[in-house]
Amino acid sequence: MTLTARTDDPPILVVPTESTDSPRVVRRRRLGLWLAVAWLGVVAAAALLADFLPIADPTANVAVGHSAPFTSWPEVLGTDRLGRSVTARLAHGAQISLIVGVLATVFGMVVGVAAGMFAAIWKPVDFFVGALLDSLLAVPGVVLLLALAATMGAGVPQLVLGLALYALPTFARLARGTARVVRHQPYVDAARMIGTRPLRLLTRELLPAVMRPVVAYAVVVLASLMVAEAAVSYLGLGVPPPTPTWGGMISDGQSSLSSAPYLVLVPAMVLFGTVLSIGVIGRWWQSKEATA
């Protein structure tokens, strides 16, 4: 608590900085960020290049029965119950996981933000959108997906649509709430004063302000939708076999959890690492936003 008066301090070099955290904390945080970026890079590369990498066909049986990781070559990560390459299934599964996650997030974000912003500006739209969102929120996500799978069958487009619908109401609410606050800012009034038309007002003046919290939130949604996709595939409502997905792999491995726990552990850890990395990057983005 006590501070002693010191008058013999050396002259101080002043360099303004942004952060008030100690250098050690900053260094540790930066390391975490780079690890997250590296991991996502590996996953994204695996997903993009899955068809060109020298790995096995994910649906072909390369061995008889399952084998543990690090026991055979070239199947470093082992094989599953049907003797299929785990490496190959993870790489191809990344494709599905990322495509479904990213597409559903973007789709939910674009439609949600548009609906929310129009609702914030026009009363009649507000009433209509509000009613729609409330009814969407009233239906549990799993029931929604079940209904979609029942009526349209299981598959990637249905999954994207279902997950997007699941994420959409929150995006719309966030966008509507932010837009309603921002539209009373003097700079929006100033834009109206110079004769800006409603559409330009929405895109030029309101959208940038709305997108700041929305983008930060989208990262969280992406992570949660990837988990949701795995959960849905686990329930058998997702992409039908033999197409590999991470959730499907966890679901598959569950039957031999006691004899071969690695069949669940390996895809689960890949999913965990990916979701965690997205979370780390999301937090970094948010803190950057906060200081900007």
């Binding site: 800012q185 009034d189 100033a190 004063m193 004769g195 800006t196 030029r204 940038p208």
Partner: protein, 328 residues
Amino acid sequence: MAGTGTAHLRHSPALLRTEGLEVEFPLAGGGKVHAVSGVSFDLLPGETLAVVGESGSGKSTVAKAVVQLIRPTAGVVEFEGADLTTLREAALRELRARLQMVFQDPLASLNPWRKVIDVVAEPLNVAKRGERKDRREAARSMLRSVGLDPDVVGHRLASQLSGGQCQRVSIARALMLEPQVIICDEPVAALDVSVQAQILNLLNDLKSRLGLSLVFISHDLAVVRVVSDRILVMYLGKVCEVASAEQLFSHPQHPYTKLLLDSVPRLGDEPNADSTNPAVEMPSPIDPPTGCRFRTRCPLATQRCADEEPVLRQLEGDQFVACHYAGT
């Protein structure tokens, strides 16, 4: 009508004229806020009209109601032969080009994601005037005329400017469409003293150079004194007194005007205001006093002030006061 009336409106053709302007905000639990009740004023070419009042007087609401950023509940706003209150948004967009506004918060008045040069060029973009290159050139020369170097600040964002610089950019933007009237809502309230002086001088200078007319909304009488020709004093949504600047400062007549002037701190002097106990403050605009709205704080108040609302009446020359007893 109380603390209202139109006796002070002049016969010469006015640029901007409001009559019986009224703004009410409904409350969620019933009842309403009487923000502005029957305010009339006129603005002649080349004139600066100051609207003075404390917070809750409704002066900023008047500014927004005049330009229709808030639609008034009742009353008329005449500008260029049209009644703005009856116009639809599309027709308003045309007229607003010549009726501009400068806001109080310098930083929040500028879109934080756009460069200064784009902010200033935006009015021309919206109006689709000229080529893209010409618009930029026009914005650059406008920046120069408000005392900013376009090469230095043009590519910055609002957050990289000081408060005074932001306010200069706001003024530049307001001038781009060659307005006749600019409504300044507390334009210097958020600025430091030395910067305040720069902006006030800039406004005075632009006014005489471009032949502008100004409506200057402020709580600060010392600032108002520097810029205005005519002053309108508001209290709790109503007009108390209208007079030329000289007359109002030298011979204030309304008891509220006197209280305001006596409260202003003076350099090196004890203020005249009686600062003894107890505290008396502005009543709520949700349930304003009957009769004269100032009577709860007024030393002259009688039963008549509760029963009968005073209407603006002419005293001497160009001085009008809404009080039963002022000047007697």
